[in-house]
Amino acid sequence: VNDNVLTTLRGVLESPALAGTELADGTSVLLDIGAGRVVSLSESATFISQQVREGARSFQELAEKLAAHYEVDERAALADAEVFVQELLRALTE
């Protein structure tokens, strides 16, 4: 997956139309009131969206951070992160 997807997702996540709320258990909710859309993120999904917001430039970098944080295999993290980022982007823009 092209790393540009991360830039696109960052743009969407930083859009003023999208409100992000972190909940007490580490999960979060993204709310786009204009589109009437709510996306509920698990703790790990919240971690990824934070990394994207904070400027993760490539999926490789994202996978390294995931692997370090959750103590999982980097290749599996890479594959999952790629799928997740694309699905999140689709959910927020479709």
Binding site: T21, L23, V29, G36, S40, E43, S44, Y70, F84
Partner: protein
Amino acid sequence: MTSRAFHLAGALTAVAVSGYAACGRQDFAQSLRFRDHCGSLTLGLPPARKARLELSRIALEILGFIVTHPVIPAVRRNRETVFRDVVVFLFAATLAVRAGDVYRGAPLLRVVARLMAQPLLPFKCNPNEARRAALRALRYLSKLRLVTDTCVARSLVVGVLLSHLPNVRLHIGFDVAGGRETAPSGHAWVTVDGVNVSDASPARDYSEATSIELRRRS
């Protein structure tokens, strides 16, 4: 959908992303999948014909409510109170039906704009009056299956009834519902000058996601 605690369901399209926390490697492959994608939920009255029939029923039911409501004889000594209660209730009922558009697929912001274009009452009702009327109207109309009695509809009705006041805001927030396997619980409420006026007693603290100013165009 598994978001049974999702009180905003229907007003918003919910997509739940659920997965692991600090899970082991074996769970990781399934971790970041979307668990649910419930799409737009349509509640209320989808077919236009049914809506027309039921709207005509509402007028009759409201008249029936007015003449039979047990509160009215009790306050009949004070005609002004009776008049106010009835007018606020009727107005709240019409707002509640319009607010129900959010459950028929209309975007929330558009519904808010339409509601804010409604005429003001000839008198200014206070927050208690507005909350009481909204509760009554929604409770009654929901029994007739004309509206869905939710925090969103209630907040919209209260917000419009109080829109003569400055600094009225509709808030939307979330809280952890029943653990990781359920979607977060959403809630909508209205504040006037920062004071919650739509909930009699807030059940818990919700993390506010966004708020909309309910202001009439001058």
